[in-house]
Assembly symmetry: D2
Homo-oligomer: 187 residues x 4
């Protein structure tokens, strides 16, 4: 079974998040990860062969990056035939602010997947960093459920940001999509 | 297998939509429908015993009705334990306008379900009434994918509105959630 | 006083809507309209000289078109300096479905304008086509308030679609932004 | 000139945010603040006499609290007559998570205000806590523009949470709405 991680990254932070999602897919033991950078050629047939797709991009000016949106629009010929119907989908995004309108990106990805007739997988995580003993190191530290969020400081390169907790949150999303796909595929 | 249809209706239009969803669940042959009107006592144990929940309410002033929101908040004790995690979820809404900010209600229901760790089922329907030969009689005539929309004229009672096409759209959502639940449950 | 109508159009339908918005601006008697097609060179200085900007684009796959999103991202250098702060803003969009996830596009435009520190102008119109005597000819026939919606049948060119009612709805938005700008500018 | 701060608070945290907004209104020197707790009787005439309304409530299960939604629905008789048209509006919300789906609450408030024909005022603030030297003490530390966000740790009472930075962010929103109302009212 294969799960595609379909992403765009502007400065490398979302790429790190994407690779963490892919690690989670593989660590699940249920599926292989196909990493697709939408700034390159899109392997449409390989996407079609996937049991699910996890979409991710930076949040720029309050929504999905234009580069990722270009991919979304290129998928409209698949939409016309509902080729992705009943596949699993999930989403992730990075920006430099804690909230930073990232929810609008994730909702936009979920609406996009719904148009394709896909089934949307939530993070399934309790929130972190919401008590006085909380910290940046907590899983799901930003408190997001419709998709995985990461926050990367504006002045830090992708070697440092986003923090380990956000990458682990991304990893858990990958694991969850893979195990859900396994359960969904049946024995 | 049981799918719950959990709804609020102010004037009866959304109740008709809810019953159409429930009919679809049963017509699928895959599941029984449990109809829950949140204005009455909530059968929490029966909800817990369901493989999925289809949430619906009117769109009032741009979002889910306050009565339904009260139910959503009452579910927070279940949320704390993530008791509904991995169940299927879907949504529907009615208002008197064609678009009428209904999307905000459906997105709010999807975000709510994501907080519960549920998996969101889209309508899986191509849009109707989007060509010159289109009409009010078309399935998915309002063009919605993250959930099912119905439009009920302000001056028509629930005996007349919403139109048959919107009820059939609701029925197909019920069928789809039930067949997805069957596939998800395995043999 | 000048109001900019900043738009992208894929097949000409949104261009017609944009020109109707611009007509409304001029018919108000309060302002001149500067029409900016973002697929061409962006006249950044002229935008800066405007009292308000009305943003519009097609809804593609549930959100603002990638071409328009590219403009939104290009504005980030202005955002850094908050050069557009306190200007008026408003939005419009076209798609082939009645609802068609257009609300997500308008919300995305409103969030974008908020990042720029702008003040968002609603349509200020009661809904049409929401009673049994309603029709396609009604103003605000789709029922939208955070911005103006138009619906263009998939099989009709921009000479025919969107219908006159949607263009008049767009015209009224242009008028409203211009008269609000006049009131806001003071005597 | 009077600006109304219309709010609901469940445990006192949003009440603190509301009072900070009101302080900002008064500190502006442009307007008096009318504080309206929607859990009590609504002073509809005093609301009508206000130049603007700043709406706020907790984010519960991903959206505006049901108590506040009840107020929103009670305003529908005013909506029918568009009595609030052209008044200013703005929004704020509190939850225990950093992002915590608060954006959905603020968008829901903005859609509500748009239905009323109001003009929406953004925060007009650059983001804080988005660089390596950032901290909880930064203004707009959560990064929100369509409204003001506050985060209150789950285990801290309203005497301690939300932190001073979030209250100052709220204060600045109050100031901004008041000064915008002054500019809008003319000399």
């Amino acid at each position: 079974m294969q799960i595609a991680v379909v992403f765009h990254s502007g400065y490398g932070h979302t790429a790190r998040q994407a690779h963490a999602v892919a690690e989670g897919v593989e660590q699940s033991g249920h599926a292989k990860a196909l990493i697709v950078d939408v700034a390159r050629d899109i392997p449409w047939d390989a996407l079609q062969a996937s049991a699910g797709m996890i979409f991710g991009c930076p949040t720029y000016m309050g929504g999905p990056s234009a580069v990722f949106k270009t991919f979304m629009e290129a998928s409209s010929s698949r939409w016309m035939k509902q080729e992705w119907a009943d596949k699993l989908a999930a989403g992730f995004t990075t920006s430099s602010s804690q909230s930073g309108d990232k929810l609008n990106t994730l909702v936009s990805l979920a609406i996009f997947a719904a148009q394709h007739g896909m089934l949307w997988v939530s993070t399934g995580l309790m929130p972190g960093n919401n008590v006085s003993t909380g910290s940046v190191g907590d899983i799901n530290r930003l408190g997001s459920w419709i998709g995985a969020m990461a926050q990367a400081n504006f002045d830090q390169g992708p070697d440092i940001a986003p923090p380990a907790s956000d990458l682990q949150t991304a990893r858990l999303l990958g694991q969850r999509v893979a195990s859900t796909a396994r359960r969904f595929a049946g024995p």
